[in-house]
């Protein structure tokens, strides 16, 4: 039981990161391999603010989110727009954006190494026990989960209840047709990309309260987020959340019952199962 709840708490945080990536991939069509680095940057910011000026991570995110939004908007405008213009087909854009964001991830890791050094960093925040159905959990994990629920809920409502959200879903479904009905695809793609980056950075800030990170851990999170996005279905918030919770639970079970060093193997096992049996995602429809 406690393994299950630990897994759900972890999965909630994964959902936050994966939704960030899903916005970037589902709408802006950029497979962002630098997503994990954005997460680590978020974690670093929270760490720095907490140890140097004593700011709580809960408050840091209010500064972090707009900054990360701006940074990702710039990345899209400066780095991705030339690729979007150059690409003749979607496949070409996919290859180019994978290469470009892969390079970007190395640049970001390099910058973080230069600024912070290669050490692991962690800090103690809300590391107090809390009891849920008879077992004790750390409050910081619960807090991260609650914030993830709130943010995922807001994004879900925004995508499904507002006009901007509808336009974004239209772009995700049919970018060419969206243009014909008067949607400014390029502007909204940039905004969605930036929003996805901001969500990921915020997720990183919460994760840093209970996980130890270092400058080069980003790629593991990128990988997990990618697996969740594929499992949940590209552009599908509901599927992403379910997939993230599943992955969180599975990882907790593997870590508790077999070995904590095999969490990635667990994620891969899940990935292979999905690829073999439901490549269109949990709730996806078969492509015609």
């Amino acid at each position: 039981m406690d393994i299950l709840i630990t897994g759900l708490l972890l999965g909630g945080t994964y959902a936050l990161i994966a939704i960030g990536l899903n916005l970037q991939y589902g709408v802006a069509r950029i497979m962002n391999l630098a997503n994990g680095e954005m997460l680590v940057i978020g974690g670093f910011s929270a760490f720095w603010a907490h140890t140097n000026i004593g700011l709580s991570p809960l408050l840091t995110v209010f500064i972090l989110a707009p900054v990360a939004f701006g940074l990702n908007w710039l990345i899209y405008r400066v780095m991705m727009v030339p690729l979007v213009k150059r690409a003749k087909t979607r496949g070409q854009l996919e290859v180019d954006s994978i290469l470009a964001t892969f390079g970007l991830s190395f640049v970001l890791v390099g910058l973080m190494l230069a600024v912070f050094g290669g050490d692991y960093f962690n800090y103690s925040y809300l590391a107090v026990p809390i009891r849920i159905v008879g077992d004790t959990y750390a409050l910081n994990r619960v807090m991260a989960f609650v914030m993830a629920v709130i943010i995922c809920g807001l994004i879900y409502l925004w995508l499904n209840r507002t006009r901007a959200g509808m336009s974004i879903r239209a772009i995700a479904t049919a970018p060419d047709a969206a243009r014909l009905v008067g949607i400014d695809v390029r502007r909204l793609s940039a905004l969605t990309f930036a929003l996805g980056g901001a969500v990921t950075a915020v997720g990183g800030a919460y994760i840093s309260t209970f996980l130890t990170l270092d400058a080069s851990t980003g790629v593991v999170f990128t990988l997990k987020a990618l697996i969740i996005v594929i499992m949940g279905g590209v552009g599908d918030v509901r599927g992403t959340i379910v997939a993230a919770l599943l992955l969180g639970v599975l990882e907790s079970f593997v870590a508790a019952l077999i070995d904590p060093g095999l969490t990635l193997a667990a994620a891969y096992a899940m990935f292979i199962t999905i690829l073999l049996f439901r490549p269109q995602g949990l709730f996806g429809r078969k492509p015609t």
Binding site: M31, E94, F106, V107, V109, G110, V219, G261
Partner: protein
């Protein structure tokens, strides 16, 4: 074979013969550099064999390389030395085949994601089994000399070039070029696209594992985090792209200058290698999308046009 073919083969043979003389220069530094260049030349060329025509980006070189080093590390005491690269090649090809069967039937994105974490996955599994058996790293103590490693790599490079040249002229190579241009067209003209892709990926993975097996004696001590360093995959991709993947000799053109660049970066800014690599990567993606090969071919085309105008 026609006369130009014989010229190409003969020219390549002369170049390889010259390269084989390097250990007699007597300089350990140049020999070390030669090994690095030969290693990256084999890795980048075999990477481009698959990724060049198909445009599927494999980030798994480090995984195959690591598997190869472990084959040598585990087997050098029990088996004759010459069998190890062969076993490693088979192991790498089998691993590549499994990955290919799981992902290459689907769109390219799944393949990229899967290969991105493959090295980390194999590393976790090896670390886990080592923890269970209580063993840490492996000592690889053989009487293999640097020159021996160099010659083996050179021989492997020759084999890869020959294989690449033959594949390009075979039905398989033709099929792959069509897949790279338009996969739907390829499928409709009766090409078994998944099979063609998996086969070539197995060649590429097998060769990378052989390189790992050959280089293992040089490490002396191997442990998972050394054998599966993910940066290797990255370096191979960047070198192949710098040279250009459109021609068989393209990656080689990228490997030689980039090895010197790496050397310069490592000696001048030892703490900023990751950053420098990332910047180099972005420069290539944005400014040299077709690599040096693209530049050379553009220059040739321009010369032909000016000749025509006269």
């Amino acid at each position: 074979m026609t006369l130009p073919d014989w010229k190409t083969v003969g020219g390549a043979a002369v170049l390889f013969g010259l390269a084989a003389l390097l250990p007699y220069s007597g300089s350990g530094y140049y020999l070390g550099l030669g090994i690095t260049i030969a290693m990256f030349a084999v890795l980048a060329t075999s990477w481009a064999l698959f990724s060049g025509p198909t445009h599927y980006i494999s980030l798994a070189t480090a995984a195959f390389f690591g598997v190869g080093t472990y084959v040598t590390g585990l087997g050098f005491e029990a088996l004759p030395y010459w069998t190890l690269p062969l076993i490693a090649g088979v192991a790498g090809a089998v691993l590549a085949g499994l990955v290919g069967l799981a992902t290459l039937r689907l769109s390219g994105v799944y393949f990229v994601i899967f290969t991105l974490g493959l090295a980390e996955l194999v590393r976790q599994i090896i670390t886990w089994s080592q923890n269970r058996s209580g063993q840490k790293g492996l000592y690889v103590l053989t009487d293999m000399t640097e020159a021996g490693i160099y010659w083996q790599l050179l021989g492997l490079a020759a084999a890869v070039f020959l294989a690449g040249w033959l594949i390009a002229r075979s039905r398989l190579g033709f099929a792959l070029r069509i897949i790279g241009d338009d996969e739907t067209v390829a499928a409709h003209s009766g090409i078994n696209t998944a099979l063609a892709k998996v086969l070539l990926f197995m060649v590429s993975g097998g060769v990378a594992a052989m390189v790992g097996a050959i280089l293992a004696p040089r490490f002396v001590y191997i442990e998972p985090s050394l054998a599966f360093a993910p940066i290797l995959s990255f370096q191979v991709v960047i070198m192949a792209l710098l040279g250009g993947t459109g021609r068989l000799w393209g990656p080689l053109v990228g490997v030689i200058p980039f090895t010197f660049l790496l050397e310069a970066i490592a000696s001048n800014f030892p703490n900023q290698t990751t950053l420098a690599l990332g910047v180099a990567f972005l420069v290539i993606v944005y400014l040299l999308p077709r690599g040096f090969v693209g530049l050379i071919e553009d220059a040739k085309a321009r010369m032909r046009r000016t000749e025509g105008a006269l």
